[in-house]
Amino acid sequence: MPTLTTGSSTRRVGWSKDDLRSLIDLEKGFIDRRIFWDQEIYQLELERIFARCWLFVGHESQIPNPDDFITTYMGEDPVIVARDLQNRINVLLNSCPHRGNRIVFAEAGTRRRFNCNYHGWSFAADGSLVGLPAEELYEQTCPGFDKKDFGLIKARVGTYNGLIFATFDEEAPPLEEYLGDFRWYLDVLLDNDEGGTEFIDGSVKSQMNCNWKLPAENFVGDSYHAAWTHNSGAVGMLGQPVGKINQDRSFAVSVNGHGWQFGLDMIGNAMTLGEQEVLDYLRSREQVVAERLGKIRSRMVGSVSSANMFPHFAFLPGHSTFRVWHPRGPNKIELHTWVLVNKNCPEHIKELYRKGVMRTFSPTGVFEMDDGENWEHCTATAAGVVARRQKLHYGLGMNSQIEHDELKGEVHLRKYNDANQRAFYRQWLKLMCDER
C-alpha cells in the first residue's frame, strides 16, 4: 500500500517559518487574525496538524462487538472506525482506492464487509481488499496486480481508557507520549469509577460558520467568557446568574497544547444540568473518587471547568458533553457532540445526563446558543482588511505560572487566564513550522 501513495501532499506555500512565527506573539500575548481567515494557512493546518496529530475518532463503547463500525472524520478525510473479528480496532480512510468513491454511508452499524457502491470492490474490517467483480480479468490483463496493494489506507490507532485516537502520520510519537501528563487529568473523567465509561448512543451534529480554533481555544481555557456570555443560560437553568468564582482556588493547566481550566468546587458545572439527583450522585461518590484519584482530582469531577485536547477534541467535566470541532474550511466547522457517563452509573442518572446535555450544550442548548453566535462573528470580522491588521489580545495572566505539589504539566494560578490559549497556539505554531 505505501508504495502506491504519493507520500506527502504538501504543496509549496507562501508561508515560510518566519512568516508563521510572526503570527503568534507569545511574549506579549498577541495573535494575528489571519490564522482565522487565510485559506493557505488552513490548507497547511490540514497537512501539518490534522494529518499528523493523534485525533479523537470515537469511544470503544460505540463499537463494542466485532463487525461494529462508526464513521467520522480526521480533518476533512472521512474515516471508518471498525472492530474486526480479532477484536482489533481499525481506522480506515473511507474512500475506495479504485475511483475514490466513498465506501460507507451509514454513521454506525454492523458489517462484515464494506462494499463500494460503484464497482463492488469489497473490503474487510482491517481494510484489506477481499473481493472485486471480474477479478480474473484483473489477473489476466493488469500485470503485477495484487489485491494486497489496494486496501483502504489505514491510520495508526491507539486507545486510552476507552477513547480511540488515530493518526495518519507514521512519524508521530506514540499516543502515550502525545497525551503525556494530560492522562493524569483525563483520568478525572475516564477513571473515576472502576467500571470505566461509555458514550450514550447518538451524536448531535451541527455546523457553525467559524474557524475551528475559536471553539478549541474557548474550551482549552476561556473561563473568562462564561459569566458574561452565559448569564441568560444560567438564569434559565439555575434561576440566577453564574456565581462568583474564587480565582485563587482555580487553575489553568496545559500539556503539549492540551489544556484544562478548573476550580475545585466539584459540582459547579454539573449544577447547570439542573438535576438535583445528578448532584446527589456526584456527592455520594466523592469519597470513593478521592480514594481512587486523590482529593484534588475528586474535586475536579464536576467542577466549573472546560478542556480541549489538541487540536480539536473538547469536553466539559460535570456536564459530560464531549465534542469534536471538525474543520470544514477556514470559516466553517462541523460539530459532533456526545455524552460520556460512567458505565456503572444508575440508568436513571444516565437519562438525566442525556437530557441535561441536550438542553445545555447541544444546538438547542441554552448555553451553546450564545457561544456559536460569538465564534461566528469572531471569524466573520476577519474578512475586513482593517480588522485583520489589528492583532488580538491574549495577554491575561502573563505572570501566573506556579509550581504545584500535585498538579501536573504547566500550571497557572487563576482560571481567568489566557495561559492555556497561549499554550494551544505555541503547540499550533510548533506543528505549523514543521516542514518535513
Binding site: 454506525a108 448531535v204 451541527s206 455546523q207 437519562e351 441536550m358 447541544s362 441554552v366 446558543m369 450564545d370
Partner: protein, 190 residues
C-alpha cells in the same frame, strides 16, 4: 435466453390505501387547523409564555436525531433513548423560554425573525375520545443578523387533547430532513 418484457411478479403492485377517518368532523378538523395556525403565530411573535399555555401539564416535546443506518440494520434510525434536539417536559420548556426572554440572551438581541408554515394537516381519532392525532408538515424560516437565513423542513405527529379551555398539545414528535443541522443552533420551537 429470452427475456419477457411485460408485467411479472417482480414488478410492484398497488396496495389498498389506508382509509381517511370518516368520524372526524369538519368542525374538529377546523379547530385543529386553527390551533396549529395560532401556535405558529404565537411562536413567530415571540409570545412564548402564551405558547406554553397551549401545552398540557404532561407535555412531551420530542425532536429526535436521525441516525444514518443501513436499511438492513436491526437498530432503528430513530430511538427515544438516544441524544435528541428536544426531549422535554413542561419544566424544561419553561427553562428554555426563561433563557430566551432574558435580557442577557445576547444571541437573541436583536431578535431572530421567524416564519412558521404548517401544511398537510390530517386528523384522526385515538383510543381516547378526548384526544386526536394530528399529522402535519412545516417549514420554519429563520432570519438572523444581516444576511443569515436558515430553513428547516419537517414532519410532525401531535397528540391534541380536549380540555375545558379548548384543545391543548399533549405530545409532539418532530422529524426534520437534516441529519447534520446546517446551522449553529436551533433557537426555535417547531
Amino acid at each position: 435466453m429470452p427475456v419477457f418484457l411485460g408485467d411479472t411478479p417482480v414488478i410492484r403492485r398497488p396496495a389498498p390505501p389506508p382509509p381517511v377517518d370518516p368520524a372526524v368532523t369538519l368542525e374538529t378538523y377546523y379547530r385543529v387547523q386553527q390551533f396549529l395556525y395560532l401556535e405558529c403565530r404565537l411562536l413567530d411573535e415571540e409570545r412564548y409564555e402564551e405558547w406554553l399555555g397551549l401545552l398540557t401539564e404532561d407535555i412531551h416535546y420530542w425532536m429526535p436525531l436521525v441516525q444514518a443506518r443501513y436499511r438492513k440494520d436491526p437498530k432503528p434510525r430513530y430511538d427515544p433513548h438516544r441524544m435528541a434536539y428536544y426531549d422535554d417536559d413542561l419544566f424544561t420548556l419553561r427553562r428554555r423560554i426563561t433563557r430566551a426572554l432574558h435580557p442577557t440572551a445576547w444571541a437573541e438581541d436583536p431578535p431572530t425573525r421567524t416564519v412558521h408554515h404548517v401544511s398537510n394537516i390530517e386528523v384522526e381519532r385515538t383510543d381516547n375520545p378526548d384526544e386526536y392525532r394530528a399529522y402535519s408538515t412545516f417549514t420554519c424560516c429563520r432570519g438572523r443578523n444581516e444576511v443569515e437565513e436558515s430553513v428547516l423542513h419537517g414532519r410532525r405527529v401531535d397528540l391534541l387533547r380536549e380540555t375545558p379551555n379548548g384543545l391543548r398539545l399533549a405530545r409532539r414528535e418532530i422529524y426534520i430532513t437534516q441529519s447534520v443541522l446546517l446551522s449553529k443552533n436551533l433557537n426555535v420551537f417547531l
